[in-house]
């Protein structure tokens, strides 16, 4: 479903992503784990087509993100770090804008709109300007916008930042369900999230993949019962 081959990205002399290879399939919830500056965000930007690789390729459902960009991106829902949104729009206007950009028909928009507004409890703020929303509501709006077209691949950069514990729990439950029939890629440095969500963990450090396994294997590998200890141990190796 998502194939990353020999992917590298340089910013001047700095190599942010270094020869990364992996292949992900439907039904997986993959967490990208790593310390700050490991290259997680750059990798997500490369997968989502925001950045162009210096070398290597990303293929989404057989479409190359660089050469068949539009076809590839039809299957992706991406929420960048800090959930950037158009502050001068209302929540409804934002959803409508995304729906139009993605050529959704009126009927399918109406159907999905009702679904996501209920799922993400956005009814009370639907006509409110985004710049006046709390961080939690902004975050939910961004994720709901990415899910509007039911993308087969959902990419989220630190998705639970700014959510309260109840919202975090509800959101993780939602992701688990969504990940049953789709591919979900989540970048995080919160271990609790990895344990709660991940069917697969890809650990990165200094632009390279240093471990690709399940959360359970990760603990076993580091001979630890605690994922945070395992993370530290592997990073420091």
């Amino acid at each position: 479903m998502l194939v990353v081959k020999k992917l590298s990205k340089n910013f001047g002399r700095i190599r942010a992503v270094n020869n990364v290879n992996f292949s992900l399939k439907r039904g997986e919830i993959v967490t990208l784990l790593g310390p700050n500056g490991a290259g997680k965000t750059t990798l997500m930007r490369l997968i989502s087509g925001y950045l162009e690789p210096s070398s290597g390729s990303v293929r989404i459902l057989e479409h190359d993100v660089t050469t068949e960009r539009q076809e590839a991106l039809k299957n992706i829902g991406y929420v960048p770090e800090n959930s950037p949104l158009y502050g001068d729009m209302t929540v409804f206007e934002y959803f409508l804008f995304i729906a139009k950009l993605r050529h959704m028909s009126d009927s399918s928009f109406q159907e999905r709109y009702n679904e996501i507004v209920n799922n993400f409890e956005l009814k009370s703020v639907i006509n409110q300007r985004i710049e006046t929303l709390s961080k939690g509501f902004r975050h939910r709006t961004a994720i709901a916008g990415a899910l509007l077209t039911k993308p087969q691949i959902l990419i989220l950069d630190e998705p639970t930042e700014g959510l309260d514990p109840n919202q975090k729990h509800a959101f993780r439950e939602f992701l688990k369900k969504y990940g049953e029939n789709n591919l979900v890629v989540v970048s995080t440095h919160i271990m609790e999230e990895v344990e709660a969500l991940a069917t697969r963990v890809i650990m990165m450090n200094k632009g390279r993949i240093i471990k690709d396994s399940t959360a359970f294997d990760l603990k076993n590998f580091a001979k630890s019962q605690n994922l945070e200890d395992a993370f530290r141990q592997i990073i420091n190796q």
């Binding site: 925001y50 162009e52 960009r69 960048p80 800090n82 950037p84 001068d88 139009k100 950009l101 993605r102």
Partner: protein, 243 residues
């Protein structure tokens, strides 16, 4: 691609009226235009059949105001991070660039249309040459289009709307006052073709042609190419920023 261009255009054009900037610019344009026409242009001392004193300053007025219309188009997207949301949608960069450009150009059209009451009020006192005036309006519209294209392109280069404003203002002034006639004497060109080619590069010459009612194909091609070049550079800039 057309539909995507329309969606971006509608979002950007609506965006002007969601902020106070649009209303401020409408007021500022009306005030500056009338001030320039009546006080600086000596409106009452001139023969106003062609509204010369009104159109004479329009190039400078657009050079001053268009940067304020275009400065946020890309710079704001980059500053707020929404560029990442926009450019990861399945749409072509060309449609995004065109959508943004047309929204700015239409806003300038609104500015021009709002001067129509002035035109008709003057028309009730003076016999006006409406054909010439239409050509002058067309010239102003093209000038605004060129400055919008330059402004869009400049805005794509940086995160700061203020820098985008200043850079567009400087470039617009250079373009509107640029005169390449000195090249003729400097290099001693004597062939008619060379002289005419160099003269045809002058921005003001084309506006003067239109103001005097000469709606030639060469003028239209000149203005269109002056728009296409910065827009093409804008697409290249967006693509370059990716890599």
């Amino acid at each position: 691609m057309l539909y995507q261009t329309y969606v971006i255009f509608a979002k950007e054009f609506g965006g002007y009226f969601r902020s106070r900037l649009a209303y401020f610019l409408l007021g500022a344009y009306a005030f500056i235009s009338m001030f320039a026409a009546f006080y600086m242009g000596g409106f009452f001392e001139l023969n106003n059949m062609e509204l010369f004193s009104f159109f004479y300053f329009q190039g400078d007025i657009f050079a001053l105001l268009v940067p304020a219309i275009t400065m946020r188009l890309w710079a704001e997207e980059r500053r707020s991070g929404t560029m990442e949301v926009l450019l990861t949608q399945p749409l072509s960069y060309t449609s995004v660039v065109l959508g943004k450009f047309f929204s700015a150009w239409l806003f300038c059209t609104v500015l021009l249309v709002l001067t129509m009451p002035f035109l008709f009020s003057v028309g009730s006192f003076y016999p006006l040459d409406y054909l010439n005036i239409l050509c002058s309006y067309l010239g102003c519209w093209f000038i605004a289009g060129v400055f919008c294209a330059v402004g869009c392109c400049v805005s794509a280069f940086n995160k700061s709307p203020v820098i985008a404003y200043i850079a567009t203002l400087i470039l617009s002034l250079i373009i509107s006052t640029g005169n390449f006639d000195f090249l003729i004497s400097e290099f001693g060109f004597s062939s008619n073709i060379m002289i005419r080619t160099i003269q045809s590069l002058n921005f003001s010459k084309h506006f003067q042609d239109l103001s005097s009612g000469q709606l030639g194909l060469d003028n239209i091609i000149y203005y269109l190419s002056m728009m296409i070049l910065p827009l093409w550079l804008n697409v290249i800039t967006v693509e370059y920023k990716k890599s």
